[in-house]
C-alpha cells in the first residue's frame, strides 16, 4: 500500500485522509527550546566528563613529596637524598625536584616578587614531583613514604589525585544533574506532544470518525499524526540544535579565557559533537512515538 498517497503531503501531492493536523503552532518553538536546553545540558555533561577524565589521567600517577623544614640547608640535603632514593624506587617513572623559580612563580600571585618582598626568607617547602607507572594508591604512597623516612624525616608524601577528590565528586554530581535535566526535558517534550496531539484529535474528531466508518484503521490515522509530529519536531530540533551549539561556542570561549587547566580539559571531542548532533533525531523519535501512542490510545476509546 502506498502510505504516502493515503496520508497526504506525499511526493506526488496526493490529498490526505486528514487535513494537516497541526499539533499546535507553538509546537516547533517548544521543541526548539527543549532541544536547545538539552544540547547545552548534554554538552556540559560531556565537557565535565572530559575535564574529569583528563585531570584524572594527569594526576592519577602523580605524587608530591614536600620537605617541610624551616632550615634551608637541611631542607636541601633532605630533598636531594629523597630524590636519589625515589629515582631508583620501583614503579617510579619520573622524579624531579621543582626548581626554585617554578616555586616562585607558583607563589607569585599570593606573595609577590617585587623588590622588598621577603619571599626568599620564607620557609617554603622543597617539592619533588613524582610520576608513577601505576595509580598512586594509598599503599603505594605509604611505601614511598617509608622509603624516604630515613633520609628525609620531615617529608610529607601525598597523591595528587587526593587533593582533587572533592572536585571530582562535584563534577560527578554535575554530570548526574545534566543527565537529570535531560530526562526532565524529555518528559517536557512528551507532555507537550501529548497535549498537542489530544487537541488535534479533538479538532479532527469528525473526520476521524468518517475515516473509521470507511474502514480506516487506527494505525492509518495515527500515521497522519506521526508525520505531523515528525515534521514539527524536526523543524524545532534543527532550530534548537543551532541555538544550543551557538550557546556552547560562546560558553566554551568564555571558559577558555579563564586560563584554568581544568577548564581547558573540558573540550568536546568529535564523538561528543556526534552525540550532540543526534539529540534532535532523538527529539523527533520521541515526539513521533509519543504522538503515536497518544493517538492510538485515544482512538481505542472510539468504536
Amino acid at each position: 500500500m502506498n502510505a504516502a498517497a493515503l496520508f497526504g503531503g506525499s511526493q506526488r501531492g496526493e490529498p490526505g485522509l486528514l487535513p494537516d493536523p497541526r499539533l499546535g503552532s507553538p509546537m516547533p518553538w517548544v521543541i526548539a527550546i527543549v532541544i536547545a536546553l538539552t544540547v547545552i545540558a548534554a554538552a556540559s555533561g560531556l565537557g565535565l566528563r572530559n575535564a574529569a577524565t583528563r585531570a584524572n589521567a594527569d594526576l592519577n600517577g602523580g605524587v608530591t613529596v614536600q620537605i617541610v623544614t624551616a632550615a634551608p640547608v637541611a631542607r636541601n640535603r633532605q630533598a636531594d637524598a629523597a630524590l636519589a632514593v625515589l629515582s631508583r624506587f620501583p614503579g617510579v617513572t619520573e622524579a624531579r625536584r621543582v626548581q626554585q623559580d617554578q616555586l616562585d612563580s607558583l607563589l607569585e600571585p599570593w606573595l609577590g616578587t617585587r623588590p622588598g618582598d621577603t619571599i626568599d626568607d620564607l620557609p617554603i617547602p622543597a617539592l619533588i614531583d613524582l610520576r608513577l607507572a601505576t595509580p598512586a594508591t594509598p599503599d603505594r604512597v605509604s611505601a614511598l613514604r617509608n622509603a624516604i623516612t630515613g633520609v628525609a624525616p620531615t617529608a610529607r608524601v601525598d597523591a595528587q589525585a587526593a587533593w582533587l577528590t572533592p572536585v571530582f565528586r562535584a563534577i560527578t554530581t554535575l554530570q548526574w544533574l545534566a543527565g537529570g535535566l535531560i530526562a526532565l526535558l524529555a518528559m517536557a517534550t512528551v507532555a507537550a506532544v501529548v497535549l498537542a496531539a489530544r487537541n488535534a484529535l479533538v479538532s479532527h474528531r469528525e473526520t476521524i470518525a468518517i475515516v473509521h466508518m470507511l474502514g480506516g484503521t487506527d494505525a492509518q490515522i495515527a500515521r497522519v499524526f506521526q508525520r505531523t509530529a515528525a515534521m514539527e519536531a524536526a523543524a524545532g530540533g534543527i532550530l534548537g540544535l543551532f541555538a544550543g551549539v551557538l550557546a556552547i561556542v560562546v560558553l566554551s570561549r568564555q571558559f577558555s579565557a579563564l586560563g584554568s587547566g581544568m577548564a581547558a580539559g573540558a573540550v568536546l571531542r568529535w564523538t561528543d559533537w556526534l552525540v550532540i548532533a543526534t539529540i534532535p533525531i532523538g527529539g523527533v523519535a520521541l515526539a513521533v512515538l509519543t504522538a503515536r501512542l497518544t493517538v492510538l490510545s485515544a482512538l481505542r476509546r472510539m468504536l
Partner: protein
Amino acid sequence: MSEPDAEIVQFDNVGLRYGTGKEALTDISFTLYPGRFYFLTGASGAGKTSLLKLLYLAQRPSRGLIRMFGTDAITLPRERLPGFRRRLGVVFQDFRLVQHLSAFDNVALPLRVAGVAEREITKPVDEMLDWVGLADRRHARPATLSGGEQQRVAIARAVIARPDMLVADEPTGNVDPEMALKLLRLFESLGRLGTTVVVATHDVHLIRKVPDSLIMRLDKGRLSDPTGALRYPPRRAVPLGEPVISAAPRNADGGPPLGFAPA
C-alpha cells in the same frame, strides 16, 4: 423459488438503549440476503437511523445477537472492524463528507483507505462522478457544493468500492426526481452484482420505483413487519429472505458505473 443464499446480516432479538433511557430499538429480528433491495420505513423517531447505525457498525446493541458476513458482530474484536466496514457502503443522512477534500478525493477515500493503487483510482472515480453529474465539480470542496451535490458525492463514495452491503439513510432527500431515479438505478445495479441494499426513506414514491424491494417498517423502535408483507405496493406478500431478482439485464450497456473493479 430457489433456496435463499447465505444470509449477509442476521439480527436476533436485538435491543438498543442510549444511556439509561428507554429502548430506542426493541426485539429487532430479521435477516438480510445478498443482492436484495430493502427499504426501511417508519415515522421520524421510529428508530431508522439507530437501526442503520447497528447495520454499519457505528453502534453496539444493548442486547441480542447480530451476525454479519457470517461472523458474530457483537463480539467482533475492534481490530477486525475496519475489515468489516470496508465491505459496507454508507450514505449518511447528513452526508458526512470530509470538508478538506475535493469531491474527487471524497469519492476516492474508501479506495485509498483500502490501499488501492493510485493509478487504479482515477478512472472509476471519474466515471462515478460523471454518472452522478458532478464531472465538472470534481475539484470542488464540499462547502462549495449544494445539498444535492453533496448527497451525490456521498452516494458515489458509498458505492465506489462496490460494497457487499449498501446502507443509505434518506439518500435521495435532496435531489430532484430525475436524479433520484438515476441513483436508484445505480443501487439496483449494485444489487444485481450481489450487493445488499438497505435504504431508509419516508418517500413512498421512491419505494414504488423498486417493485421487487422488501420493506421493513419500524414503529416506535419495533420492527412491525419483518416479513415484507407490508411492501408497497402490496402486490404480493414475500417472506423476508426470499430472493427477489429483477429481470433487468446485468450491467447493461449505458448502465451506471459499478465502482472499483480490481485490475
